[in-house]
Every structure is written in structure tokens, then in C-alpha cells.
């Protein structure tokens, strides 16, 4: 009487064995992909980790908008520096401008602030600064050499450099008062 049950049991056992093998191969392929996905889930896809963080800031020698002698990075050492790449055509730059100007005024004599103009014209820069005010110089980078040396991929981007000239942080989005305070803390003695 138990005989008819046997073929069905054998038939059920065979696919189960194949499925286990397929499952293992599938896991072998899918598990690393899931691991990569989970590891990078919280990352902004537009942000690129800067290899310059923790390394000496690239040197530059740039002329300020409105004229004056070139500002060299060598001469800036000895005091923390906030280096902000921006442009007049960049709406998020306008958004963070007030935070930059206010913080630069508040930390005058303690932390140096400099703007570097990215893909823009001097006349527009001067007009922008007249309209919106500024408490620190903005330097012209007509061939984007400084931007390239700093690995700028868009604006705004801000680098927080300590008194020894080492980049401690890079922020690739508009600064709020809070992110500004958090990052300035990393370079203040």
C-alpha cells in the first residue's frame, strides 16, 4: 500500500537537490552585489570622496577679483583656511553666501576665508559681491588650474585647511550654519 507514495517522494527529492545547488550559485553571485549595495546605500551618488582629505593642500597663486597682488597658498600657512569654490551663476552658492560672510566676519583674525571663482567672469563677480556683500577676497582662477588641483567637480565646494596646510574636510554642497560650525571645528586650534 505504501508503494505508490515512493515515486512522488523521489520526484520531490530530485528538484530539491537541484534547487539547493542553484540557490548556492545564486547566493555566490548575488551576495557580493547586495553587500556592495548595503555598504553604499547611505552615500550620495553625486559625491566623490576627495583623496586630498588628510593631505597637504595643493599650492596656488591667484589674483583677487578687483585687482591686487597675487595671493599665494604658501603665505596663508599658519592660520586655518576655509577655501570656497563658487560662481555667480550657481544658485546654491548664493544660498550659502550669507553663512560664509557671517562666519568669516565672526572668526576674523582666527580663521582665514577665501573664495575661488569657478568658470566665471570678473565683472560678474564684482557685481555679485557688491550686491550681496563680502567679508573676504575672492580669487580668479581663469584656467581652472586651482579648481583642477583641488579636484573640484562643481560648485559650491569648500575645503577646510588647518594651520599646517593640511586639508581636514571637503564639503561638496551648500554650507548651512551647522555644517560650517562642524567643519570649522576640525581646523580651529
Amino acid at each position: 500500500m505504501a508503494a505508490p507514495a515512493r515515486p512522488s517522494a523521489t520526484a520531490a527529492a530530485a528538484p530539491a537537490a537541484v534547487n539547493r545547488r542553484v540557490l548556492l550559485v545564486g547566493l555566490f553571485v548575488v551576495a557580493p552585489l547586495i553587500a556592495i549595495l548595503l555598504l553604499n546605500l547611505g552615500r550620495d551618488p553625486h559625491s566623490i570622496r576627495s583623496p586630498l582629505v588628510g593631505r597637504p593642500a595643493p599650492a596656488f597663486s591667484l589674483v583677487p577679483a578687483g585687482g591686487g597682488p597675487p595671493v599665494t597658498s604658501e603665505a596663508l600657512k599658519g592660520r586655518p583656511l576655509v577655501l570656497n569654490f563658487w560662481a555667480t551663476w550657481c544658485a546654491p552658492c548664493l544660498e550659502e553666501h550669507e553663512v560664509l560672510v557671517r562666519t568669516a566676519s565672526a572668526l576674523q583674525g582666527e580663521v582665514r576665508f577665501l573664495g575661488v571663482v569657478y568658470e566665471d567672469e570678473e565683472d560678474r563677480v564684482r557685481a555679485f559681491l557688491q550686491r550681496h556683500g563680502s567679508s573676504y577676497p575672492s580669487l580668479l582662477d581663469p584656467e581652472a588650474k586651482a579648481a583642477i588641483a583641488y579636484g573640484v567637480a562643481g560648485v559650491p565646494e569648500t575645503y577646510f585647511i588647518d594651520a599646517a596646510g593640511v586639508i581636514q574636510a571637503k564639503v561638496a554642497y551648500p554650507l548651512s550654519a551647522q555644517t560650517m560650525a562642524e567643519n570649522v571645528r576640525k581646523v580651529r586650534p
Binding site: M1, A2, A3, P4, A5, R6, P7, T10, V25, I48, R49, S50, P51, L52, P58, A59, F60, S61, L62, V63, P70, E119, L139, L140, D141, P142, E143, A144, K145, A146, A147, I148, A149, Y150, G151, V152, A153, G154
Partner: protein, 210 residues
């Protein structure tokens, strides 16, 4: 004398231009002194295009610095041209940009570290695919042979015949009733079974009693 004066004037103008335009970092501080020959003219343009094709434009979606129409890519091409003209070789130029942008800036990831996976994954995928195909093609042949060799008596005995009944007694009773109705077998039992039980040789075909 005039030639010297002209050369000095040109150099002074270039220096003034450099100051007015602004300077970035000295590449020699990053990647050492130039290792290749200084280039100019058509050779410079050709080499610039070759090296620019290996760099990813950071503001575009998957375009090389050579192909991108963006201002940033144009500036990067200009920078590559200066480096090529000064005698920096391909590795030095790629290393110079990599220092600022990371490995992301290389369109061809170099064979090192986890990048081996990127390069080897297609080969491994092909090998794995070939192995799966080979396994799938070979698997069915030994399977029936093995089943025949080891389980020969099993399936023959296990094939449900016209007289076999399910193990469940309730279901068995139902099957017997169906057989009785359908074939007119008394009690649902095949006459052949009776015949087999009484005289084995004269077994009629199943269903002949209907």
C-alpha cells in the same frame, strides 16, 4: 643681440601672463620631473588627445575629457596639453589628476587592488557560464543510467497498475467504488485480479470486463 632681447621680452610677457592668469600647483612637486620628451605641433595635439581620452570629465556623465564639450573638460584638456608639452608622460599625467580627483578620474581603472575584480569578472563570468552549460549538457545523460542501474526494480514495482490502490484507506474505498461504477467490477475489484489470484496464465486485459 636683438634676438636675445626679443626672447627676454617674450619670457617676461609669459611670466606676467602667468601671474595675471593665476597659477596652480607645480606638477613636478606632485609627480616628479618630466620623464618624457617635450612635444610640440601635431605630435603635441595627437598625444594630448590620446591622454585626454583616458581621463573622465568630472562634471559629465561618463564622457572623457577629450569628448566632453564642457568648459571644465576644455580647461582640463588645456592642462593636459601643457603637461604633455613639458614632457610629462602618460602615467605622470594620470597620476597628477588622480591625486586631485581620485581613481574615479581614470576611465580605465588600473590593475590593482579591488580593480582586479572589475577586470576579471567578465572572464570569470564566461568561465562560470561555460561550466554551467557543460554541466547542463552532461547532467541528463548519466542521470537515467544511474537511476536504471541502482533503482531498476523500484520503478517497475512502483508503477500504479489498474489494480493498485492508494495507501489512504478512505481514498482506496473511493477508488474501488469508482471502479465498480465505471467498469462494473463487483466490489471494484478487477476480474483479472481474481483470475490472477485463481489461475495466473489467463489474465484478461485491463478494462475488458467493462
Amino acid at each position: 643681440m636683438r634676438r636675445w632681447l626679443a626672447a627676454v621680452l617674450v619670457l617676461a610677457a609669459l611670466a606676467a601672463g602667468a601671474v595675471a592668469q593665476g597659477r596652480g600647483e607645480d606638477p613636478a612637486r606632485v609627480v616628479g620631473p618630466p620623464r618624457g620628451p617635450r612635444l610640440q605641433g601635431a605630435a603635441l595635439d595627437a598625444r594630448t588627445a590620446e591622454v585626454a581620452a583616458l581621463l573622465r570629465c568630472p562634471v559629465c556623465q561618463g564622457l572623457s575629457v577629450a569628448d566632453s564639450p564642457s568648459t571644465m573638460a576644455s580647461n582640463m584638456r588645456g592642462h593636459v596639453k601643457e603637461l604633455v608639452a613639458a614632457g610629462y608622460d602618460e602615467d605622470q599625467i594620470l597620476a597628477y589628476f588622480e591625486r586631485s580627483y581620485g581613481e574615479f578620474v581614470r576611465l580605465k581603472p588600473p590593475l590593482r587592488g579591488v580593480n582586479w575584480l572589475v577586470w576579471m569578472a567578465p572572464v570569470m563570468g564566461l568561465l562560470l557560464g561555460a561550466a554551467v552549460i557543460a554541466w547542463a549538457l552532461r547532467a541528463p545523460r548519466p542521470a537515467p543510467a544511474a537511476a536504471g542501474a541502482h533503482e531498476k526494480p523500484g520503478p517497475v514495482e512502483d508503477v500504479p497498475g489498474p489494480d493498485s490502490l492508494p495507501a489512504d484507506p478512505a481514498l482506496a474505498r473511493y477508488v474501488l467504488r469508482v471502479r465498480e461504477r465505471a467498469y462494473g467490477w463487483p466490489g471494484g475489484v478487477s476480474p483479472s485480479r481474481d483470475a490472477t489470484a485463481s489461475a495466473a496464465p489467463a489474465a484478461p486485459a485491463p478494462g475488458s470486463g467493462a
